[in-house]
């Protein structure tokens, strides 16, 4: 507890100090000494995924010799806009940020553009019509994740003629990952009519709701072969529901999930989940590469997809000891 309290105090002091240098030395951020200065504004620390994301950015900045100015927006757009303005004042070489929300960025991005500071979006997109406001968007392709999940299913059942009854736990209704993971999955499995999604409900990306929805699925659908969950947490909740119903997760009901957070990987290694499509937060190294190119003035693609993989049960056992999150 004490450790946490002191961490909080430290964070407060750091924020203070940062605000202090923001007002003073305008020239400190310049590229005079050849070291690139990057201002990074993070969404917050709302999940293990996000924490790993933050760590990845900080560590790879150090490794790449980039001077990182980091700020945590605590889920608030106004904090993020403030941070970006302070980076513009400090004349950093490049600004990167994960937008809390999609809209409302035009003004501040215009300011960055006028100051000739390139902007890189990470993980989440903005809905600005004017794509010249940022150089590139680095993040996961959720449709591709859905497709990978569907492809595994198609491969698993390629020799079988029987109908496959699928239930789906969707993410928060209307969110980009939920929409896209559903679409991608659908695109792949719809080629074969034996795959039937017999029930699909939102579990809001949480364990508690995943469990509750799965309980209802189990009662209203006597025969479920496969569960496709839009993230690991809902799958973990559903596993409890399946066990409570006297069935064996991973055997009686096969489970496909997306994310590959630690608890999910553990369940995969334990044989309770069958397949996980990674949605990697470790985009730091790619971000630093892009930053270097952008600062040099090289052309970069407008959309860069995070390098991601997939995990089977055996791969999970091998990967688990060295996982960072």
């Amino acid at each position: 507890m004490l450790k946490r309290f002191s961490a909080l105090v430290l964070a407060g002091v750091t924020a203070f100090a940062m605000a202090g240098c923001g007002s003073g030395s305008g020239g400190s951020g310049g590229s005079g000494d050849g070291k690139i200065v990057m201002g990074f504004s993070q969404v917050g620390a709302e999940s293990g995924w996000r924490t790993a994301n933050t760590k990845s950015v900080q560590e790879s900045a150090k490794a790449a010799g980039i001077d990182l100015k980091f700020s945590d927006a605590q889920q608030k757009q106004e904090n993020q806009i403030k941070a970006i303005r302070s980076y513009i004042q400090q004349k950093v070489d490049v600004i990167a940020f994960s937008p809390v929300v999609e809209s409302g960025w035009d003004t501040v991005l215009q300011e960055a553009k006028s100051a000739k500071i390139p902007v890189i979006l990470t993980d989440r997109a903005v809905d600005s019509k004017d794509t010249s406001l940022y150089r590139t968007f680095l993040g996961s392709d959720f449709i591709e994740e859905g497709k990978k999940a569907g492809q595994w299913l198609v491969d698993q059942y390629k020799d079988s003629k029987d109908p496959v009854n699928i239930v789906q736990l969707e993410g928060t209704t209307g969110s980009a990952p939920a929409n896209d993971r559903k679409t991608g999955f659908q695109q792949v499995i719809s080629a074969d009519p034996k795959f039937k999604i017999i029930a699909s409900q939102s579990g809001n990306f949480t364990r508690a709701e995943g469990k509750q929805v799965m309980e209802a699925f189990l009662k209203s659908n006597p025969k479920i072969d496969v569960l496709y969950s839009h993230n690991d947490d809902m799958a973990l909740g559903a596993i409890e529901a399946i066990e409570g119903a006297g069935k064996v997760p991973g055997k009686d009901i096969k489970i496909i999930s997306v994310d590959a957070v630690h608890d999910g990987m553990q369940a995969l290694a334990d044989g309770k989940i069958n397949y996980i499509v990674e949605c990697s937060p470790l985009l730091g190294p790619q971000l630093m590469d892009l930053a270097k190119k952008v600062v040099k003035g090289e052309q970069v693609p407008a959309r860069v997809v995070t390098q991601e993989t997939t995990f089977t049960q055996d791969q999970a056992k091998q990967a688990l000891p060295s996982r960072k999150y």
Binding site: E46, S200, Q201, A208, A216, S220
Partner: protein, 352 residues
């Protein structure tokens, strides 16, 4: 016919019961085996059991909320207290050498509930001691509390593996889900304190007019602090249940928006937001209606995009049926002309 049904029709809980039965009938038509309850691995298993099991935390929070609303207050912070209590208990259990030790789990539960009591007393002091409007006073903890929960969990989901803790929200005792037993115990205790002892009358009196009550010699301040503390305790227990059910604490999402569901449950149950009168039975019915609605949506497969609309529709119907003025207009012709208008009846009636 009308003469026979009259007393039932006029009972305050008649319409909530009608709605609950209506929702269950909807399931009878659309869902196979909805009413089927069987024994599986030595415990009861079925959709009806699920409604009670998943509804238990909401019933608890709503019970606390009922008493707060009866004093014409409101507590927006219950969702945050749910998150804090679950997070603190899970953090302590995760630090235990042996997560299955009953003593360690009990002390973790004790500390979590103690903190809930402190948070409730804080709310009560802000409202009764400092005189801040309840909606603002509890808004402070609603916002700050979520931050506190995240601080406790360090923004991570704490996963534990403790069978004694699992019992609270996910276990069974004598084939019955343990959560239901906790709810019955809390309900019985609350009913005894408020209906057998004078506490209920004092609460209603403070809700009716705090100043007049004070002048009549009732310690309004103490009563208000007591109900907020009780409300936070209920939320704390609910928080333990929710985290225990999934063996993990999620500072971000545990109990999110439960305060709104609880307020809705209280209102559906016939307790007016203006205070001065409350019905514990009505609140339990209200919470069960909300949980049945959720389970119904999952069971009959309402598409996720229309879930909120469907919920809104049902809630609107419930509220309309609960409104005496609306009923008087719509059902007027069916009633005996001599029957007393329900409006007058609602005002005169003192809670049983």
């Amino acid at each position: 016919m009308t003469a026979f049904l009259g007393p039932f029709l006029r009972h305050r809980l008649f319409w909530p019961v009608v709605i609950l039965v209506g929702l269950l009938l909807l399931n009878l038509v659309f869902t196979d085996n909805f009413f089927h309850v069987e024994m599986k691995d030595d415990h009861l298993y079925g959709s009806l059991i699920d409604i009670f099991r998943f509804g238990a935390p909401l019933i608890l929070v709503s019970l606390g909320m009922t008493l707060v609303i009866a004093t014409s207050g409101i507590d927006l912070s219950v969702g945050s207290v749910v998150a804090i209590s679950g997070a603190l208990a899970c953090l302590q259990i995760s630090d235990l050498g042996n997560q299955n030790s009953v003593g360690g789990v009990l002390s973790a539960v004790g500390v979590a509930l103690l903190l809930s009591l402190v948070l409730g007393a804080w709310n009560g002091l802000l409202v009764a001691g400092v005189g801040i409007q309840p909606i603002i006073a509890t808004l402070i903890l609603m916002v700050a509390g979520r931050g506190l929960a995240q601080l406790i969990t360090q923004g991570q989901i704490i996963t534990i593996n403790s069978s004694p803790y699992k019992l609270i929200g996910g276990g069974y005792w004598l084939t019955v889900p343990f959560g239901i037993i906790i709810v019955i115990a809390v309900l019985a205790l609350t009913a005894f304190l408020t209906r057998r002892l004078a506490l209920g009358l004092l609460i209603e009196s403070v809700g009716g007019n705090a100043e007049a009550s004070r002048l009549a010699g009732i310690g309004s301040r103490a009563v208000i602090i007591t109900v907020y503390t009780f409300c936070a305790l209920c939320a704390g227990i609910a928080g333990l249940m929710i985290s225990s059910n999934v063996s993990s604490a999620d500072g971000n999402n545990a109990g999110l928006w439960i305060e709104l569901d609880a307020i809705l449950a209280v209102v559906i149950g016939g307790t007016p937001l203006s205070g001065g009168r409350f019905s514990l039975g009505g609140t339990v019915l209200g919470a069960l209606i909300i949980q049945t609605l959720t389970t119904t949506i999952y069971s009959i497969g309402v598409p996720p995009q229309t879930t909120l609309l469907f919920k809104a529709l049902v809630v609107t119907i419930v509220c309309l049926l609960q409104s005496p003025a609306f009923r008087a207009k719509v059902f007027h012709r069916r009633r005996r002309p001599a029957g007393a208008p329900p409006v007058a009846e609602e005002k005169v009636r003192v809670s049983a």
